[in-house]
């Protein structure tokens, strides 16, 4: 879209020449990712903000129609790359719903633990980046120190730090080891201290509060009408959380160990406080889940014809070999119902849903993503009007826009 020319007169004929246009991004440190804003300014006050997106569009949904249900998990990882494992739970949760697969208890618990770790990691980045943009570097460093531990746990479980691709249809790539349990236990023990450090730096910090309180206010009605979910809706007083409302994975067993964190403020400060509160609730979930981790297999049996057998079974038994070939040959693979289904999970940013249309083959006919970042970024012009240009990083950071998910 070309830069908008500012009209020299408004509808009533009043002179508008004092307005000017500022191009913000697509490469700007405060946007963190690749997105562009065209701001019309009156002095330093924003009269109009027009987002221009699509710089990272790479046709993920088209690829979803060309890759099978196990292969597409590598693409799903790259949507919200700050908490990739939560996207995998959502994708394979929907695929399993489509096929009518019930995963094993151990798999449910491990997925829950990893999804909550991903939520903490995502919130840490968001909170740290807001603080960084508003001038507080130390909180960012504390947050990243904890993120590093989460990456270590992911690496131990899956062998990959950033894009684990750890889930499979009907289970997980492999079981976790004893060291994983120790790492998670030690994270649960040490994280509240780091969380308190960040709180001490920011919660009563005059500069931080002055720059976030009353900025970018979203009322409850607007939040619902504009399809907001997740921390942004909860910061505006919408008490909705899919982990409570539509419990999936191990959340039905863990209902007593966590609460929904809400606020009525609706501004950037409320969104920050909701995220901080949610991290502690997530730690409680992880603590309860790791101590009740059930034994047994992580994947449903290979007789179900949908699970990739482990390498030892592939190489040492004829059943495993046949199963492996059945799943990897182009003319075999999965059999799916000719149906369509919507499944959603509560990820760090909000409701991440997938609408899968299946035509009976191993590939999705349509793999629609409901991306929370895309829906939340549509709020931006509304939130920005009338604010100062220095509020842009605060609002942008508090919405936690991940451009790869925004553009897909």
């Amino acid at each position: 879209m070309p830069l908008e020319a500012v009209a020299s007169q408004d509808e009533t004929g009043t002179d508008q020449e004092f307005l000017y246009t500022l191009n913000f991004g697509p490469q700007h440190p405060a946007t963190h990712t690749t997105l562009r804003l065209i701001l019309t300014l009156d002095g330093e006050t924003i009269v109009r903000a027009v987002p221009d997106i699509g710089f990272l569009h790479s046709g993920f949904e088209k690829l979803g129609e060309d890759l099978d249900f196990n292969q597409y998990v590598t693409i799903v990882d790259r949507m919200n790359y700050v908490s990739p494992i939560a996207n995998e739970m959502s994708w394979h949760g929907t695929v399993e719903k489509l096929m009518g697969i019930e995963v094993t208890p151990r798999c449910r618990y491990i997925r829950t633990i990893l999804a909550e770790l991903a939520r903490i990691g995502d919130h840490l980045l968001c909170v740290g980046a807001v603080a960084l943009d508003l001038g507080g570097l130390t909180a960012f460093l504390y947050a990243f120190n904890e993120r590093e531990k989460i990456y270590d746990i992911m690496e131990n479980a899956s062998g990959q730090r950033f894009h684990p691709s750890y889930t499979r249809v009907g289970g997980l790539m492999n079981d976790v080891n004893d060291q994983f349990v120790e790492q998670v236990r030690s994270f649960v023990k040490t994280f509240p201290k780091a969380h308190a450090d960040v709180c001490r730096l920011l919660n009563k910090n005059k500069i931080f509060i002055d720059r976030t309180k009353g900025v970018g206010v979203l009322t409850r009605e607007e939040a619902i009408n504009r399809s907001c979910t997740g921390p942004i809706a909860r910061a505006s007083g919408v008490a909705r959380d899919l982990r409570k409302d539509e419990p999936y994975l191990a959340y039905p067993d863990l209902q007593s160990s966590f609460k929904i964190v809400c606020s009525n403020g609706g501004d950037c400060l409320a969104r920050y406080l909701v995220r901080m509160g949610e991290m502690l609730e997530s730690v409680n979930i992880i603590a309860a889940a790791i101590e009740n981790l059930p034994g047994g297999p992580v994947s449903i049996g290979t007789d179900s014809n949908v699970v990739i057998p482990d390498k030892s079974a592939t190489y040492r038994s004829i059943e495993g070999l046949i199963q492996h070939f059945e799943l990897f040959m182009w003319n075999r693979r999965f059999e799916t119902p000719v149906e369509e289904v919507y499944g959603a999970t509560e990820t760090a940013n909000g409701e991440l849903g997938f609408y899968i249309v299946a035509d009976g083959s191993a590939k999705a006919w349509r793999a629609r993503t409901r991306p929370p970042s895309f829906i939340h970024f549509a709020l931006f012009p509304h939130l920005m009007e009338g604010h100062q240009i220095s509020d842009v990083p605060a609002v942008l950071g508090s919405l936690n826009i991940i451009a790869a998910e925004l553009d897909r």
Binding site: L63, N225, E339, E340, V357, W365, R366
Partner: protein
């Protein structure tokens, strides 16, 4: 009274065809009645949030009659109930009424469906491409569009600093 019965009572028998799959409750509505049905669900049946709006191209899908499907995923934020309303449109002029005046959140979602499928939304305040550049001529999520594209990227104009 279920939602489908309420719609049948208000808009005539056969307006809503209910189906179920897993936990998804769905109703199919003809496109002439879609705006009225959605407005009714929004105002009188408590569906205050449009959770998702998806376009689907059914070209070559088993037993498909119509080409494009538009799915409105509605949510009631008080009870947590979900309902999937679906309608179908066809070439050469696929057009659906816009629901931006009911749910402001539909604004960008409708623009995305237009961008990817070429389905237009009558009454939309600002129906432009959103993810792809304005100069792009095809609709890439249509089934007759190849995975590797037609090479449009090579024909996009180059903007220099002096011209911008």
């Amino acid at each position: 009274m279920t939602h489908a019965e309420a719609i049948d009572a208000k808009f005539g028998t056969g307006s809503a065809q209910p189906t179920d799959f897993r936990d998804n409750k769905r109703i199919a509505v003809p496109v002439e009645k879609i705006y009225g049905v959605l407005a009714h669900l929004h105002t009188h049946r408590g569906f205050d949030m449009l959770c998702d709006l998806a376009g689907i191209d059914y070209l070559g899908y088993p037993d498909a009659i119509d080409r494009y499907g538009i799915v409105y995923a509605l949510t009631n934020t008080v009870t947590g109930e979900r309902l999937f309303v679906k309608t179908f449109v066809n070439d050469p002029d696929p057009e659906v009424p816009s629901v931006v005046d009911l749910w402001e959140g539909a604004n960008w979602m409708e623009r995305e469906v237009f961008d990817m499928f070429g389905v237009t939304f009558a009454g939309h305040p600002d129906l432009r491409r959103i993810l792809l550049p304005d100069e792009f001529t095809s609709f890439p999520l249509r089934k007759d569009y190849p995975l590797r594209g037609y090479g449009e990227r090579h024909n996009l104009p180059t903007v220099t600093r002096a011209e911008s």
